[in-house]
Structures are given as structure tokens and as C-alpha cells.
């Protein structure tokens, strides 16, 4: 789309929505929100960017291929269940530990959430960009 207003505002909007998607994902740890909805927000941000500047530009801006992003997410989610092996608990049990230097709690659960975020963001962006691509011919 070539309107000046949309083109001028799209980068800011994309950045804002991406930031918000990260916020929603982290908020999902204890409150409504989470990786799935965050990933959808991120995908809509990239779709917006694609509408404004065209699909090739959006792909360049993403740096990684959307499917690689989704693959990374699946990998993160799957391996987030593995550390529980060393605590004699079943697969996917949350493991908490305190980071040695900074004294705050870290958990495998957030790794799983980030994985979901990346899977949804990658897969949805992939679909959205493919649809936009064929739309422009």
C-alpha cells in the first residue's frame, strides 16, 4: 500500500506491536497473556510491515526465514522439558534455579513460553507473507 500516512507510521507501529507482544508474553507467566497470543501479535506486526513496504522488504527486515523462527521455537519448547531429567521428575516439569551472579530466579517454563511465542510468530508470519505475496502477484 502506497499511502504516505500508512508508510510513515508503519515502522513505528510495527516496533510498538513487537514490544507489546514481548510484554504480553512475559506477563503470561502469572497473569492473562502468554506465548501464543504474543506470537500472534508479533505475526500481525510483521504482516503490517509487509503490507506497508512489500513482502521482500518484510522478509529482509525479519532477517531469519519465518520457518526457521518457528523451528527454533519448537526446539526451545522441546528442550525446555529436558532439564527435569536431572531432578528425577517427569518430562516438562518446571525446573527453577537462581542465576549465580544476578540473584534472580530463572525457570524452564519461560523457555517453553518463548518457544511457543516463536513457533506461533514464525508460522503465522510465514502464512501471512505467503498470502500477501500472491496477492500482489
Amino acid at each position: 500500500m502506497k499511502t504516505l500516512i500508512f508508510r510513515s507510521i508503519a515502522p513505528y507501529l510495527t516496533a510498538l506491536v513487537l514490544l507489546f507482544s514481548a510484554f504480553v508474553t512475559l506477563r503470561g507467566h502469572n497473569e492473562p497473556g502468554g506465548g501464543f497470543i504474543g506470537g500472534l501479535l508479533a505475526a500481525s506486526a510483521f504482516a503490517l510491515y509487509g503490507i506497508a513496504f512489500g513482502v521482500p522488504e518484510a522478509r529482509r527486515a525479519m532477517w531469519f526465514h519465518p520457518m526457521s523462527v518457528a523451528g527454533t521455537g519448537l526446539l526451545l519448547s522441546a528442550i525446555s522439558g529436558l532439564p527435569s531429567f536431572f531432578r528425577d521428575t517427569p518430562y516438562l516439569t518446571g525446573v527453577w534455579t537462581t542465576a549465580p551472579l544476578f540473584h534472580f530466579d530463572v525457570a524452564t517454563i519461560i523457555l517453553f513460553d518463548i518457544g511457543v511465542y516463536l513457533v506461533v510468530a514464525g508460522a503465522m508470519t510465514s502464512i501471512a507473507l505467503a498470502l500477501e505475496d500472491s496477492g500482489e502477484g
Partner: protein, 511 residues
């Protein structure tokens, strides 16, 4: 943090033995490898080795799992250590381990066969990740002990199998995938509706918990549930009258894909029927057994007749798959221990033998440049293919010393004992038709002299026959030394008919 919180009411507090992790390895490992391959999309030469190595490790893991289940009883792992009815349990009994083990071996053979027969464009579009994720879904369905989770695994392998079917994007493939997709989506939607209804009635999805609760209910619409599940899984298993998608789709993709699907995917439907109807709704299954017997008989005979009518080898094998499903279902219809054991053994045989037969069809098409029985001929000049074709013919037709013989004898004997006269007749008639079909196939492709324009392309690149030979050897072994397989199938059937050990394994001390 406040003082220690008492978690014994919500969580499992006993340590999980490291060996129980074998239940999750067949899922977690291929997911991790599949995701990595997705990230490494550009490195085409890494795809095949990583995929094959993963499938080999998964096969080893399922074998170890089977040994563990065989020696020390049902293995249970409840995710996130929540107590069973709430946490999702993986409950692996002999039946699940047996199916997972066989399916993983078949997947490994297909993975090895795919190394040579999958072209570069298909690799670029993610053939190997799809293969791994399909095998994740199949293993998940075999190993899980939670019915909604089973639905999720059905979706996983369904969606990955779309990918495998459509990769290559020829017109015939798109046509086949569309039919496969629509009919299977209807099947899984029925599965989902039934599961939602089940949850509404029973308030639980854990299969061991369902087994405990079903007898306590009076007047619950259990027959409706059983019938819904029967319809949904019959669609997956390609039983009459919902079998039309299979011959419409399975001859279109790459032959390795057909081999994997024909061997494994319909058996997931059969497994689900066994698991849900025999374990969860035994009373309702007894009520449905008349219908089941009809379905089984018609599936068998129509499958064999369909196979007889085909001139394309791969379409013919597709109908043979359907005919075999009928034999498994007749085990289910009779419902006694030996009959179920026969059905289970037949499913194992069918996974191995039909996958091998699809691979053989691929080899024949490669060498002769055609898969049509009108054109083929003169295969006797290739002794290897002739030998494999001969052994597989015996196996699938159920002639000694092939692997199909023993399970068929078990089912027929059980049918006679249970006074199912015409079901016995149907099994024998379908066997006869299968023999005629395969005899015709053998006669036309091997003994008939080569037709002039079908020159066996000697110079053509032909792939390594290892996987096909290995599967044929396994099928022959099943026929020559069936004792361990009969024993395993019998124990699997006993585990289904007497679920006390299954429930005990999940709920242990608590009541």
C-alpha cells in the same frame, strides 16, 4: 519464599526412574531433530543423515521401551509431575510398545529409502522434517494414555502427512491430498466431538481414569460415544464404507511416502479402535460386534475385489491395505482374547509386509518405467526383485511360510470358536481373492515375457534395495518363527481385556 508447601495432593513426589524416560524419547527426540532440520533448511546435505540417525535412535529407544514394558510392566510418565487424572499421562503397555516399535522400524526403513529416492526440490521443501514429525505423531498416538492427547497426536501426524503428500505439487498429488485432507479432517473432527462429549459425560480424559469410571455410570450415553469413536477411527483405518480416500490418495506421492502411509497410518486407526473400544467401552463393543463383523467382512472382500480390478500396482497395493484392515477388524468384532491377538499380529505383519510391497512397487516402476500391469513383464530377468516379489506375495496372501498365515489362522480359529460362520467364510473368500490378485500380479510382471516397449532400463539409476530387503526379511521371520510375535500379541490383547494392571500402573497407590 514461605515455608515448604505440601504438594503431595497435587503432584507426584516419588522420583521418576530414568528408565521411564524411554516413554518420552520416541516423541521428544524426533521433535528436536525435526525442529533442527527446519532451522537448517538451507543445508540440504545435512537433512538426510540427521533424519536417518534420529529414526535409528528412535527405533532403538522403542525397542528398549518394549523390553522394559515386557519385563517390568506398564510404563507411566505423567507430564509436569501433576497427579494422573490432571497431568497428561503417557501410559505404555505391551500393545502400545509393540505398535510403536514396529512403526519406528518401518519409519527407519522408509527414511533410509528416502535418502536416495527423494529429489532435491522435495528436500528443500522439508521432506525430512515432515517425515520426522509424522513419526512423532504416530508414536505419540501409540504411547499416550490420555484420549485428548491422542487427538492432538492424530492432528500432528495428519498435518505432517499433508506436507509429505503434497511435496512435489503435481496435479495428481494436489487432487489426492485434497481428498485425503477433507475426509481425514472430517474423521478427526468426529474424534474431537466424541472426545468433548466424553469429557462432558465422564469429566475425565485420562484413559485409565475412564476405565475406572465407566462401570459406575448408569444411563450415560456410552453407546453413542462408542459409535462416534467407531466412525471416526474407521475413517482413519479406511474401513468400509469410509475407505474411499485411501486408494484416491496413496498412489500419487513419492513411493516412499506411500510406503510409509500405507504401512503405518491406517494401523494408527486400528490401534485407536483397539485402545478405545476394547479398553474403554468393552460392553458397548459387545453390542456393536454385529455391525463390526459386517464392516470387517465387507472391507475385506471389497478391498480384495478392488485390488483385483486395478491395473496400476500402487493402486492395487492400496486396496490390499484396505483388505488387511478388514482382517484386523474381524479380530475386533469377535472380541475374544485369541481373536484380538490375531488382529494385533495381523496389524504388525501388515505394517512390515505392505510397506515392503510399496517399496517393491517403486523399484518395479523405476526399472520398467511403468507401474501398469498392462505394460509390465519380463521381471524374471532381475532375480532380486523376483525373489522379493515372491516372498511378499506369500506373506500378504497368507500362504506358508509368509507372515500373513499365522495371524489369519488365529483369527479364523477364534471366529469358528465364537460361531461366526459367515465371518470365517468372508475371511477365507477375501484370502482367496488376494491370492488371485497377487498371483495375477506375479504372473504378469515376472513370468510374462517383456512387452516390446517396456525395456528394462538396466542403465537407469536404481536405488539401494536395502530397506526393502530388510523389511522382507522381517516379514519372512514373522512367518518362519512366529512364536514370539504370537506371544507378544497375546499379552497385548490380555492387557486390553483385563485393564486392572493398566489402571494400577497409572494410579498406583492412590484411589
Amino acid at each position: 519464599m514461605a515455608g515448604p508447601i505440601d504438594i503431595t495432593g497435587a503432584m507426584i513426589t516419588t522420583a521418576t526412574p530414568a528408565g521411564d524416560w524411554l516413554a518420552i524419547v520416541p516423541i521428544a527426540l524426533p521433535i528436536i531433530a525435526g525442529a533442527s532440520l527446519l532451522m537448517l533448511r538451507k543445508r540440504l546435505h545435512w537433512q538426510a543423515p540427521i533424519a536417518v540417525a534420529t529414526l535409528a535412535l528412535v527405533s532403538l529407544a522403542t525397542m528398549a521401551l518394549f523390553v522394559r514394558v515386557w519385563t517390568s510392566g506398564t510404563v507411566v510418565m505423567t507430564m509436569g509431575r501433576w497427579l494422573p487424572p490432571f497431568g497428561i499421562s503417557f501410559t505404555v503397555d505391551v500393545l502400545g510398545a509393540l505398535f510403536a516399535c514396529t512403526a519406528s522400524l518401518v519409519a527407519l526403513a522408509c527414511g533410509v529409502a528416502a535418502v536416495q529416492s527423494i529429489e532435491r526440490p522435495a528436500r528443500r521443501y522439508g521432506y525430512f522434517p515432515f517425515l520426522l514429525l509424522t513419526s512423532v505423531g504416530v508414536n505419540g498416538a501409540f504411547l499416550t494414555g490420555d484420549i485428548f492427547n491422542m487427538y492432538v497426536w492424530f492432528e500432528v501426524f495428519l498435518i505432517s502427512s499433508f506436507g509429505l503428500l503434497v511435496v512435489g505439487s503435481t496435479r495428481a498429488q494436489l487432487d489426492g491430498t485434497l481428498k485425503y485432507g477433507v475426509l481425514n479432517l472430517i474423521g478427526t473432527t468426529l474424534f474431537l466431538i466424541a472426545t468433548g462429549y466424553l469429557y462432558g459425560v465422564l469429566g475425565t480424559l485420562n484413559m485409565a481414569d475412564i476405565v475406572r469410571k465407566v462401570p459406575q455410570l448408569d444411563g450415560a450415553p456410552l453407546m453413542t460415544l462408542a459409535a462416534l469413536y467407531l466412525t471416526a477411527f474407521a475413517m482413519k483405518a479406511a474401513a468400509f464404507p469410509v475407505q474411499a480416500w485411501l486408494p484416491a490418495a496413496y498412489h500419487t506421492p513419492n513411493v516412499v511416502t506411500s510406503a510409509f502411509f500405507g504401512g503405518v497410518l491406517t494401523k494408527v486407526g486400528v490401534y485407536a479402535l483397539l485402545r478405545v473400544l476394547v479398553l474403554l467401552f468393552p460392553m458397548q463393543l459387545a453390542g456393536l460386534s454385529g455391525v463390526m463383523a459386517w464392516i470387517a467382512a465387507v472391507t475385506m472382500v471389497l478391498g480384495a475385489l478392488g485390488a483385483l480390478a486395478q491395473s496400476d500396482i500402487r493402486r492395487m497395493v492400496g486396496f490390499l491395505v484396505i483388505s488387511g484392515v478388514g482382517v484386523m477388524l474381524s479380530g475386533l468384532a469377535i472380541g475374544t482374547g485369541p481373536a484380538l491377538a490375531g488382529g494385533i499380529f495381523y496389524a504388525l505383519h501388515s505394517m512390515v509386509a505392505l510397506t515392503a510391497f510399496y517399496l517393491l512397487a517403486g523399484f518395479i516402476a523405476d526399472r520398467a518405467g511403468s507401474a501398469s500391469l498392462h505394460v509390465l513383464g519380463g521381471l524374471s530377468s532381475v532375480p532380486l526383485l523376483t525373489g522379493v516379489a515372491f516372498i511378499l506375495m506369500l506373506c500378504i496372501a497368507g500362504l506358508p511360510p509368509g507372515s500373513g498365515l499365522w495371524p489369519k489362522i488365529m483369527v479364523v480359529r477364534a471366529a469358528l470358536e465364537a460361531q461366526h460362520g459367515w465371518l470365517t467364510a468372508a475371511i477365507l473368500v477375501s484370502s482367496l481373492l488376494t491370492i488371485i490378485t497377487l498371483g495375477r500380479f506375479f504372473l504378469l510382471t515376472v513370468w510374462r515375457p517383456a512387452v516390446a516397449d517396456a525395456v528394462l532400463a538396466e542403465g537407469k539409476r536404481s536405488s539401494w534395495p536395502g530397506p526393502m530387503l530388510a523389511l522382507t526379511a522381517v516379514a519372512l521371520l514373522m512367518g518362519l518363527y512366529p512364536e514370539p510375535f504370537v506371544q507378544a500379541a497375546s499379552r497385548a490383547a490380555d492387557g486390553l481385556l483385563d485393564p486392572a494392571a493398566y489402571v494400577q500402573a497409572v494410579f498406583g497407590g492412590q484411589n
